[in-house]
Amino acid sequence: MSVPARAAALLVAVAAVIGLGVFVAIYYIGGSSALPTVHYTASGGVTNVVLQEDPQNDSSSKPDWVSYYVQDPTTKNWVHTTLFSVPAGSTVHVTIYGYDGCTPLRNNYWSQVQGTIGGKVTVSQFDNKGKEYVTDDNTGVINGWSDCNVGHTFAIPDLGLFVPVASPNADLSANNLCASSPCTTSGNPYSLETFSFKVPASGGVYRWQCFVPCGGGYLDGNNGPMATLGYMMGEMDVVSS
């Protein structure tokens, strides 16, 4: 084989390897970006973010995984994603509907509310008939062990934000949880929790996650939904104007 032919063969081989690498990278990295991002805007410096956490989800691949949903601020539809964006420098007011039952925290330290404005959250609990049996409880600790009142947590470690998310009352929700996602307040026991925190004035992407080991079927309850974007972990994109 002549030298030009060998050189051409070598170039083709190198190009094929590079092309394969680029394809794999785009396939996998591009795959994660297919998850929709819900964009929130601020009004008067306040951004209202609305989430819900469910015992299951409406996906076809992993329907039994616990999951967060994000509410689209325009359509009010629930989007099965954990990606959302907020304006930089705004005060984010978070509302979380908790439909999943309690699971003891691995470290009960996460029972403590940290990083919110005022260091507290406001919690209400409802049964499946809409009866409100806990109303606007403003608390700094939701004990995940003694009363088993914590379903999941919403934490953004880089911002020092750690919030235990209340579950519906243990006795009333044990065998009576929402069974179809996205859940609705009608006919299901749920908790309603609100809190606020300040996001940085500059842009950046902040990961958030749940610290309750809620990945059923996985070692120690980790992995699965705990380690997958779109379920119990996500990213908050702080967008500077």
Binding site: P104, L219, A227
Partner: protein, 324 residues
């Protein structure tokens, strides 16, 4: 007459040998002085703690030891290439090489001395600073000299005990001498012997406090003990150094070394705050597992109620299958 001919005299060999020797001596002296006085202050991981200072010292000593060896090899290589290279028109064979007892003995003794020196120095530096900042397991062989007490106060020689708890994907720090309070920021008092008890609540992590020269694996159910003493006040970042899942790269926490009085003020204040808001009473007794199913404080009746279904209250213990 060419250098590589059989006519090379013994006096020529000695002359070349002494030339190489003095070149190596001069260059080594220059290199070692530069390493010690210019490089050492900038060597990692700095001198923020006793263990970090020792590690910096170790790197400097080993660099000073290695520099002459490196210079000798490179000098001999360059000298050979420039002095004994084949010159134009030289068609002769290379000089035959026979065994040389002196050279062989020098090589064996020299390398043995270097290895034994590294062994002795390394062992001393492992023992001397109480494990060199590394995890020594649950029963440390080399302890830091200090008073073990159930409380800690400034201006004492009390050992401050801190449990570093890793979980996917953050660290928390528990202070048993302050009522078992916890913090997600690692506060330390300066000039205080510190005993880290490193563990994990899920997978294997590794506590790496680079600036303090501390590194200890965090294994579930294992108490891995490491020692250090911070020498300077200031901020630092601690990281997980064991690939532990998708957010391993984001598993870092902030740390701060304060004066002893500032630390006591912070610790006492946090203890009071966590006590008044009910967190302290919610935390378990000092434990390695933090498994709610084996911690007596857990409301067993509630678990019995909620444990009926996986969705409501089931705690996934280690005995759960890895994958459905």
């Amino acid at each position: 007459m060419t250098e590589n001919s059989a006519e090379v005299t013994a006096s020529d060999s000695r002359r070349h040998g002494w030339t190489i020797f003095w070149i190596v001596i001069v260059l080594s002296l220059i290199a070692d002085l530069l390493i010690w006085f210019v490089g050492k202050p900038h060597f990692p991981p700095g001198d923020m703690s006793t263990s970090a200072t020792h590690q910096q010292f170790d790197i400097a000593v080993l660099s000073v030891s290695a520099a002459p060896v490196f210079i000798a090899v490179v000098t001999y290589f360059i000298y050979s290439v420039t002095t004994w290279r084949a010159r134009g028109g030289d068609q002769g064979d290379g000089e035959p090489i026979y065994g040389n007892t002196k050279v062989a003995a020098t090589w064996i003794i020299g390398t043995a001395v270097i290895v034994l020196w590294a062994f002795a120095f390394g062992t001393f530096e492992l023992i001397n600073p109480a494990g060199a900042g590394a995890g020594e397991g649950p029963n440390p062989i080399w302890n830091l000299s200090a008073t073990k007490s159930s409380s800690w106060s400034p201006d004492s020689n009390d050992m401050l005990e801190i449990q570093a708890i890793g979980q996917q994907w953050t660290w928390t720090f528990r202070y048993p001498q302050f009522g078992g309070m916890e913090s997600s920021v690692l506060y330390l008092p300066v000039n205080t012997p510190i005993e880290f008890h490193v563990t994990s609540l899920d997978v294997i992590h590794s506590l790496w406090i680079y600036n303090l020269g501390v590194k200890a694996d965090a294994n579930p159910g294992v108490d891995n003990v490491a020692y250090t003493t911070a020498k300077q006040t200031g901020d630092f970042v601690l990281r997980c150094n064991e690939l532990c899942g998708i957010w391993h790269g984001a598993m870092y926490n902030q740390g701060k070394v304060e004066s002893q009085t500032d630390f006591e003020t912070w610790a006492s204040g946090l203890q009071v705050r966590e006590g008044s808001d009910g967190l302290l009473s919610a935390l378990p007794a000092y434990s390695l597992t933090y498994d709610p199913t084996v911690v007596p404080q857990l409301g067993q009746a509630v678990v019995k109620v909620d444990g009926i279904t996986g969705a409501a209250g089931y705690y996934y213990p280690p005995s759960d299958p890895v994958t459905p």
